[in-house]
């Protein structure tokens, strides 16, 4: 359940940012969560409900951008969509793959008032 730690980090970041704007409520929060980021979304949703309770994030509309995994093959120089960390390069079958997208875990923006 590292998702709860992740949610608590999001809450910390959001509250800190809101305080800097003297905001009393967070209306919206936008997150980037990559598909290769080890976040299980069901666990995340469960943790979210608990984590935002009695904070100014409690009623915020949450928008999650799921960013697809992308790999770059060091052998054949192709870039492609990567669904699993153990997938081979679809062009040459190699495994020397650098991940170029999909690991994101980011608070992108807030709407506060």
């Amino acid at each position: 359940m590292h998702e709860l730690s992740v949610v608590m980090s999001i809450v910390d970041i959001a509250l800190e940012q809101a305080a800097k704007k003297d905001a009393v409520i967070i209306d919206e929060i936008e997150l980037d969560i990559g598909c290769l980021s080890t976040i299980e979304m069901n666990a995340f949703e469960f943790a979210w409900k608990q984590g935002v309770k009695r904070t100014i994030l409690e009623r915020a509309v949450k928008k999650v951008n799921r960013i697809k995994g992308k790999g770059h093959c060091s052998d054949c120089d192709h870039t492609f969509e990567l669904e699993n960390l153990y997938d081979a390069c679809p062009f040459c079958g190699g495994y020397l793959i650098g991940i170029t997208a999909g690991k994101e875990l980011r608070v992108k923006s807030l709407v506060v008032s």
Partner: protein
């Protein structure tokens, strides 16, 4: 975060407000002048990563080789440590941080070898994070030119996400587990630098294909080093000790 360790990252956050001339297709704010869009663009693990770098800087400055040992429960992490600490007592200085949800059982076992040890109980937590390690290190004060083993909570999922400031991450798998484990828990194998396959003395009794597990691990991480060993028979331990000494020498320039 606690007030004593300076975790507040207020100074490093980049943030700016958008002016009203910007197009916010997702936010219909223009009619609500009291609402503000805050561009945060902050990594959720930023706080942990900052503390991990802080730990790393401390280890580097003191020539401490910090190793993060990760595995599922029961792979033999503590037994491997006991054996290593006993066998290499005269060669290297050691310190150990033990991570478990409850009890000081593991720390007691390490303490019995005569090694400096600190136990972290995570309570309900499923992993160690850089903040816990920071405080453990502050308490134990590991000596210069030493090897610090950080035995993480037995869990192949959550600890993968949290950098502790270690130099190397060592994933341990035992032959009583499935040989498809790297595929089931790819993140841990992806983020580790060394994989130890433990309990090889049991190979004749279990349907564990060691070549298959190695191939699976290499699919995820082609650069992963692999050492097969058994703490019971002693087979392969020399390879592990040599790896450790090599890394220790690299961390401790003369």
């Amino acid at each position: 975060m606690c007030a004593t360790c300076g975790c507040d990252t207020g100074a490093t956050i980049t943030m700016h407000e958008h002016g009203h001339q910007h197009d916010h297709s997702d936010h219909h704010l223009h009619e609500h002048s009291h609402k503000k869009v805050v561009d945060v663009e902050q990594d959720i693990l930023h706080e942990n990563n900052l503390l991990a770098e802080r730990n790393r800087g401390y280890f580097d400055a003191k020539n401490i080789l910090a190793l993060n040992l990760v595995s599922s429960p029961g792979s033999g992490k503590t037994s491997l440590l006991e054996k290593t600490l006993t066998d290499l007592k005269g060669d290297l200085n050691f310190a150990v941080i033990e991570g478990d949800q409850q009890t000081t059982n593991d720390a007691d076992r390490i303490h019995a070898t005569g090694t400096k040890v600190v136990q972290i109980n995570t309570g309900k937590g499923c992993h160690l994070d850089a903040h816990m390690v920071l405080h453990a290190v502050q308490g134990m004060k590991p000596v210069q030119d030493s090897v610090l083993f950080i035995e993480n909570v037995g869990n192949l999922v959550c600890p993968a996400m949290f950098d502790l400031g270690e130099k190397e991450r060592v994933v341990i798998i035992s032959v009583t587990e499935g040989d498809d484990k790297p595929l089931k828990y790819p993140d841990m194998f992806h983020s580790s630098t060394l994989c130890i396959i433990n309990k090889t003395d049991l190979l004749p009794y279990v349907p564990f294909d060691i070549e298959k597990v190695k191939a699976n691990a290499k699919k995820i991480n082609p650069a992963l080093e692999i050492i097969e060993l058994s703490c019971t028979s002693g087979e392969g331990l020399t390879t592990w000790y040599n790896w450790l000494k090599l890394k220790a020498v690299a961390a401790m320039p003369a």
